[in-house]
């Protein structure tokens, strides 16, 4: 007779970080139901930020236990019968995710001085209907955003901390589903936002299907979905090493399985050829969500990728490992090439950042392809550096907006007139931003420089580590390719910086052109003067240039709205972190070094 059911031993304290985040999400849903409109938004924000902050504390407390001290090894990392496995590496990734989610949530919570956040009053309203106007005037708020953010964060934390492929699949869905919904909630350009959500959902569903197909093949090979497992329930690796996998010797099955699982993970990472969703989704989603998604999803995806790849490569025959490594190398090269080359011709700032994130996925894969402990450290540091720069950069994008100019109020430089519209995402609108908002521009330039990998920023240390890891893995030529791609990438980052700092804004260019024409008219012959007047359609030359632009009936200018606090804090923290990590990377590198000590 089979013994009775024994309840699994669950170390609740060890699971606490995860439970706090997911629990905050569930409580947030209840808040939606029971808390009155007036205080709901404040309650949700407080709850979300408090939960994330508490999680950071819990992770820090757990860190000491799990890493252990000299001589005393850390506590067991296997929880809930092995489905959850919080290794120091996983805990470090979780910490990174939660910190970035906290910064991302700050940007999400900011309403800016225009008094509106980035989300539609109600995402259910059909774009362009009278109901939409009604909802806006009624002052509705889509506060479900915050519980969904919590769920996504929780899913990511689970994604990087599991030894079980089925659990990983569930976590993949838990992290994806809220993101699909969040993508569709943009306040402006709503059709684009909904299109982005539909695309992300459909392609994501395909990627998930391939992932689970791969898991099925691995199960067929090994008779288990655990990666490592333990004595009682051996995982893939143990079974392969002990030679008692049901289809032992048929490594082609497990290779096909791993490749399909990798497809699912590379999709989330945004690596070529599974990158097609990235630009559209990044551009269509509400910008704070884009920042959160770009930073945190990447950490989760690369964490899971490293987990699967590094665990399985150890156990499988060396030639299989070599094949898998080749795949990663090819994907890395393609990703870097496409990200940098296509990114260089973008004219929309959000798309540019999207291609930049694709390129970064490539650089990360360079580090991953190294397959050694050095790679793990490099990946960890890279994720921190890239994450803070990305959250910060998208935070800045939320503040650069368009504003309508009421006719007769000239260039709008002085006025409080006009309605603040959506984000000014076209690159030409960013010209001369440095004069309007020097600090914001400086921060953005810093983030771009970090992404480009210029020394004294976090990005430099990160890239140095990544390419160093490739060299340590005898892939010096891949490192060279990476460096070349970085050089191309520098071009498009610097292009934006030059545009912001040294190009006069579009309105001034207009004015300057008119001035030139006016002077020409004043000094030239009569014919020329008439021609000039006719061509510019302006008032007589003596009328002054200030009135020149008033001839247009209605137009928009670029304006920088003030933050109400949270976003400014997030941007400032990101900027400081980028600088500090660039100048004194030591402590974080040390932490990353501790995190990889006990990786199998």
């Amino acid at each position: 007779m089979i013994p009775d059911f024994t309840a699994p031993l669950i170390d609740w304290a060890a699971l606490a970080p995860l439970l706090v985040v997911l629990g905050a999400g569930v409580v947030g849903v209840l808040v939606e139901a029971f808390v009155p409109d007036a205080v709901r938004r404040a309650t949700q924000i407080t709850l979300a930020l408090a939960a994330l902050a508490a999680t950071v504390v819990l992770i820090v407390l757990r860190w000491g236990l799990i890493v252990g001290s000299d001589g005393a090894p850390g506590v067991s990392d296997v929880l809930v019968g092995g489905t959850v496995m919080v290794t120091p590496f996983a805990l470090a990734l979780q910490g990174t995710i939660v910190v970035l989610a906290f910064l991302g949530a700050l940007v999400v919570a900011d309403r800016t001085s225009s008094g509106q956040d980035a989300f539609a009053p109600t995402a259910a309203a059909v774009p362009g209907t009278s109901y939409e106007d009604l909802a806006r005037r009624a002052g509705l708020q889509q506060t479900e955003v915050y519980p969904l953010l919590m769920f996504a964060t929780g899913g990511m934390m689970l994604f990087v901390a599991t030894d079980d492929l089925l659990m990983m699949f569930v976590a993949l869905e838990v992290l994806s589903l809220p993101l699909y919904v969040l993508c569709a909630t943009a306040r402006r350009r709503r059709l684009l936002s909904q299109e982005a959500a539909a695309k992300y959902f459909l392609l994501g569903a395909f990627a998930s299907a391939l992932f689970i197909f791969g898991v099925a093949l691995i199960y067929g090979f090994a008779g288990t979905v655990r990666l490592i497992g333990d004595e009682d329930k051996p995982g893939v690796i143990r079974r392969v090493l002990s030679g008692d996998a049901p289809l032992d010797g048929m490594t082609v099955l497990v290779v096909a399985g791993i490749l399909l699982v990798l497809v699912g993970l590379l999709f989330k990472l945004g690596a070529v050829p599974f990158h097609a969703w990235t630009p559209d989704v990044y551009a269509g989603a509400p910008t704070p969500i884009t920042g959160f998604m770009a930073a945190c999803t990447k950490v989760a995806a690369v964490g899971a990728l490293v987990k699967v790849l590094y665990t399985l490569v150890v156990g499988l025959p060396p030639e299989v490992g070599e094949q898998l490594r080749t795949v990663v190398i090819v994907v890395a090269i393609l990703t870097m090439a496409l990200g940098t080359v296509v990114g260089a011709v973008q004219t929309d700032i959000k798309r540019l950042l999207a291609y930049s994130s694709i390129a970064h996925a490539g650089f990360l894969l360079v580090a991953v392809a190294g397959i050694n402990l050095e790679s793990l450290r490099a990946v960890l540091f890279y994720m921190v550096a890239y994450g803070v720069a990305t959250v910060g950069a998208f935070g800045v994008v939320t503040l650069v907006r368009e504003r309508t100019v009421v006719p007769g109020r000239a260039d709008g430089a002085d006025g409080e007139d006009g309605v603040v519209l959506g984000e000014a995402t076209h690159l030409s609108q960013w010209a001369g931003l440095g004069r309007r908002a020097p600090w914001l521009t400086a921060a953005f330039a810093l983030f771009l420089l970090s992404m480009a990998g210029i020394p004294l920023t976090a990005g430099f240390v990160a890239k140095f580590g990544a390419f160093g890891a490739a060299v340590a893995g005898d892939l010096w030529w891949l490192a060279v390719v990476g460096v070349l791609a970085s050089v191309v990438a520098v071009f498009f980052y610097v292009r934006v910086i030059v545009l912001m700092m040294f190009t006069p804004p579009a309105e001034e260019q207009l004015l300057a052109g008119a001035e030139a024409r006016a002077q020409e008219a004043a000094t030239g012959t009569g014919d020329e003067a008439e021609a000039a007047e006719a061509s510019s359609g302006a008032e007589p030359a003596g009328g002054g240039v200030a009135t020149e632009t008033r001839t247009e009936v209605a137009r928009t200018v670029v304006t920088v709205v003030g933050s109400r606090g949270p976003a400014a804090v997030a941007i400032a923290v990101c900027a400081v972190a980028t600088l500090v990590l660039g100048v004194f990377p030591g402590p974080v590198l040390e932490l990353a070094g501790e995190a990889i000590k006990f990786v199998p």
Binding site: A7, P8, G81, T122, P147, A184, A256
Partner: protein
């Protein structure tokens, strides 16, 4: 082969009958043009799969397959199809040139690779069914789900909460205007009385011996035409028929000269008038 795991003749036959049909239905899913047919193919595949599960001693999975997939998911599919319209067909316009062929090519390549991989597999005799099902299949499954995978179950719970929240976010519209009920409509009409709106239905158009149409006004008890009895649109367009002309034409046919009565009282038929001499009263307006 381990004793107790021989595949019986019946099961073999079941497999070879169902499996080819399932493959056909699965192919049909790809190639039929109507969405409803595709859905029916999918139903067939799912139910056959459920039968297979039961045959392979996984009764719980078989029942779940029927209840959840065929019962719930497929019905939702069909509801959606009904909403979209049974006859709706996808636009086959390619937005990217050659997209379809690239897709077919890649799909074929993928299929070839996977077929090659799976075909290479040499399966050993199955083991472990006995011990797995020792405490009946559902109980054994429950032990796995609530033992090893208890956290995964809870994560799936979170997933369901997310799905419900997401569906509400994307579809639920709050009532922002006051709801229109019979009472509010009635109250509004009574309030509008002062603006000349009538509480009762408007009178129907007139019916005459030779004429029964929307454009002819009815006569009120005093014999005067009622303008409201003609639809507003016709009145605005000036397509209202004149009652006088109508009555004159009728009188001409009947053969009575009504010209002498032209000055008759507009308030209606005088009490003492002979009905034979004046069959109808011309209700003329001055």
């Amino acid at each position: 082969m381990t004793p107790g795991l021989e595949v019986s003749g019946g099961e073999t036959m079941l497999f070879w009958v169902l499996a080819p049909l399932m493959v056909l239905a699965a192919l049909g899913l790809l190639f039929v043009r109507r969405a409803v047919h595709a859905a029916m193919c999918l139903v067939f595949v799912m139910i056959s799969l459920a039968i297979m599960y039961v045959a392979q001693e996984a009764p719980f999975l078989g029942v779940v397959q029927v209840v959840v997939y065929t019962g719930a998911v497929m019905m939702l599919f069909l509801f959606v199809l009904m909403l979209v319209g049974v006859d709706a067909s996808d636009s086959l316009t390619e937005t990217i040139k050659g997209q379809r062929w690239i897709g077919v090519l890649l799909g074929l390549g993928f299929a070839v690779v996977l077929t090659g991989v799976v075909a290479q597999a040499t399966f050993q005799s199955p083991v472990g069914l006995e011990s797995a099902n020792a405490v009946t299949n559902p109980v054994a499954l429950a032990r796995v789900l609530f033992g090893d995978y208890v956290l995964a179950m809870e994560a799936v719970g979170v997933l369901l909460v997310t799905a419900a929240t997401g569906a509400l976010v994307l579809t639920h519209r709050r009532q922002l205007t006051t709801r229109r009920t019979q009472r509010t409509t009635a109250d509004a009409r009574v309030r509008a009385l002062t603006e000349g709106v009538s509480l009762t239905p408007l009178p129907a158009p007139g019916v005459y011996a030779q004429n029964n149409a929307m454009d002819t006004p009815a006569l009120d008890p005093a014999g005067r035409p009622v303008p409201e009895s003609v639809p507003r649109v016709l009145r605005i367009r000036g397509q209202e028929r004149s009652v006088t002309a109508l009555l004159d034409a009728e009188a001409a046919i009947v053969g009575t000269d009504t010209s002498g009565d032209a000055v008759g009282p507009p308030a209606g038929l005088p009490a003492g008038q002979d009905p034979d001499s004046t069959p109808t009263l011309p209700a003329r307006e001055a």
